[in-house]
């Protein structure tokens, strides 16, 4: 199924991920907080179509959801 929306928390991403999100064809949102503060501290995460997805890096999350 095609990914429709990817959300990121500004605290959890760096400039490189932000630029990568900007380049995607899918709808992306960078928010000041997505209310996942514990996880946000610990590990990379994105909210993909409303579901919270974590992995070793944002690149791997994106690779998984855009495959």
């Amino acid at each position: 199924m095609m990914t429709e929306c990817i959300e990121a928390c500004v605290s959890n991403i760096d400039g490189q991920v932000r630029r990568r999100l900007d380049e995607l064809d899918t709808s992306t949102v960078v928010a000041p907080c997505l209310e996942h503060c514990g996880r946000c501290y610990r590990e990379p995460f994105l909210v993909v179509d409303g579901e919270l997805v974590t992995d070793e890096s944002h690149a791997e999350i994106l690779e998984g959801c855009l495959r």
């Binding site: 959300e7 605290s11 400039g15 709808s27 907080c33 997505l34 514990g38 579901e51």
Partner: protein, 509 residues
């Protein structure tokens, strides 16, 4: 005698109050706010400053337009707070609140200087109850998303906390709920403390903030839905209503608006108890009463739900303000002069009889209340730290995105978390120190924080002609854009804001 009563009702949209002409799609009953407005001066062009909750409170209590320097954080050692100055002036000071943010990481300094404070526990994420581990299923379903916010979550912000906090509340007895307890405590306090000569009492109601969890009869007052239907959330995530974790169906959105409306009618009923106490004990002739809110809340307006993420439309920033002052010739009148949240600081001090020479960024509205002036300020600047910049002259609002690639800087005596407000401290090893602030010689830390654009392109609205801000004039009205950019620059210069703000907004120094 000079008593001062400041009442904040969190997240209260002005457009649902009859006195402001309505506009909200539900006719919400607020007879007590209406009766107070009838007695007081109603401010028609009052704007928020630093957003959201705690930054607004630092504006009110310290006179600091902080969002150009730092985000949500504590009272600084160089701030002179209203309760500190009031007690120096021999006033008794009291805080009554359920606003738990005062007691979280990085928010110290707000309650400590009051002679007394009451905290009603348990609202929203308040770290209060830890049992039952598995709270009521229906409330869990209505207040969050089990997949992203699991019931056994131990992370800093977790929504099941609320279901635990309210596990013992009786949804058929509104007296258990938050606003009823805050306002009835206030009415009690007014009665118990009549032997004191002068006082400053600050009542900070977290309601009508979400979760929009209402007891009866309010839960069914504005909807035919079953308010216990687990498919209907009463606590939306912030963001777009048509996308992502904040997505809402029309039915869900309609239910949320009804629960918000119900909660406001509940707040109004118990706010009325405070008015009754002022009547009963004949306190009006000795008391200045200020009623306001920190910001609004979006329910599908411009496609958004919540706040913080969307551009700062008037739904968020154009806030209600009513002031009763017995000696003022303006009572019962409208005040159309542009005023800003930060102006409450000087106003409260004037009302308390505190003589201070420096009110930092605040301009008391006392000359308006005295009828000595009809105008007050040329601009009101508002926004979130590290995000877009917004300005109004009362006719136009202009909204300018920042460059997301350019860091902003946080200035504080604490190493506060710049983007993740109420989570534990973390050392800022890149910080430098110095006397960087224009309004104090006290050295502070300076460290970078990430920017958040908040909007894609500049927006310009004529809010006198287009109060719901649907007609963006920025692409077509170059002359007004220039005029508002000039106003923005003048405001930044007057505040002596840091140089990097000009770079972030591409405004000439």
């Amino acid at each position: 005698m000079s008593n001062v009563l400041l009442i904040s009702i969190d997240s209260l949209r002005r457009d649902l109050l009859d006195v402001y002409g309505g506009g909200f799609d539900i006719d919400v009953a607020t007879p007590n706010l209406d009766r107070f407005a009838e007695r007081a001066a109603t401010f028609d062009s009052h704007y928020a400053g630093s957003l959201p909750c705690m930054p607004a409170r630092r504006e009110w209590l310290t006179g600091t337009q902080e969002f150009l320097w730092r985000p949500w954080g504590p009272v600084e050692p160089f701030d002179e707070t209203v309760p500190e100055l009031a007690r120096q002036n021999e006033l008794l000071t009291k805080l009554i609140t359920d606003h738990y943010h005062y007691f979280q990481h990085g928010s110290h300094g707000y309650y400590e200087s009051f002679h007394g404070f009451d905290l009603v526990r348990g609202h929203e994420h308040d770290a209060y109850r830890t049992a039952p581990k598995e709270p009521d299923d229906r409330l869990i379903d209505q207040t969050g998303n089990r997949a992203t916010d699991p019931v056994d979550s131990l992370q800093y912000i977790n929504r099941p906390q609320y279901a635990r906090n309210v596990a013992d509340l009786d949804e058929l007895d509104e007296r258990d709920f938050f606003a009823p307890r805050v306002f009835s405590r206030t009415a009690e306090w007014l009665r118990e403390n009549q032997d004191w000569a002068d006082w400053f009492c600050y009542v900070d109601s977290f309601d009508v903030h979400e979760p929009f969890h209402c007891p009866e009869p309010y839960a069914t007052m504005y909807t035919d839905e079953d308010p216990t239907d687990e498919e209907l959330t009463n606590w939306p995530y912030y963001g777009r209503v048509d996308d992502g974790q904040s997505e809402l169906s029309d039915r869900e959105l309609s239910f949320l608006r009804a629960q918000y409306a119900g909660k406001i009618t509940m707040v109004d009923r118990w706010f009325g108890r405070v008015l009754d106490a002022l009547d009963r004990d004949n306190l009006w002739e000795d008391t200045t009463v200020v009623v306001t809110s920190d910001h609004g809340f979006m329910f599908g307006d411009h496609g958004w739900v919540g706040k913080n993420v969307p551009p700062v439309y008037d739904t968020i920033a154009h806030t209600p303000l009513f002031i009763w002052q017995p000696s003022s010739p303006r009572m019962g009148e409208r005040v159309d002069a542009l005023t800003s949240a930060v102006d409450l600081y000087g106003t409260l001090l004037d009302a308390a009889g505190v003589d201070v020479t420096d009110t930092r960024h605040s301009r008391s509205v006392q000359p308006l209340l005295d009828g000595r002036s009809d105008s007050h300020r040329d601009w009101a600047l508002y926004g979130y730290w590290g995000s877009a910049l917004n300005v109004t002259d009362g006719k136009y609002t202009y909204h300018l995105p920042c460059d997301g690639e350019v860091n902003t800087y946080c200035y504080s005596t604490t190493m506060m978390n710049s983007n993740s407000w109420f989570t534990p401290r973390e050392p800022k090893n890149e910080a430098e120190s110095g006397a960087f602030l224009p309004y104090t010689d006290t050295p502070v830390w300076r460290f970078p924080g990430k920017s958040f654009e908040q909007l894609d392109e500049p927006l310009l609205f004529d809010v006198t002609e287009d109060p719901t801000q649907h007609d963006n004039l920025a692409p077509s009205d170059e002359s007004t854009v220039d005029q508002m950019r000039t106003l923005m620059r003048e405001a930044l210069q007057e505040l002596d804001c840091p140089d990097e703000q000009y770079r972030r907004f591409n405004i000439d120094l």
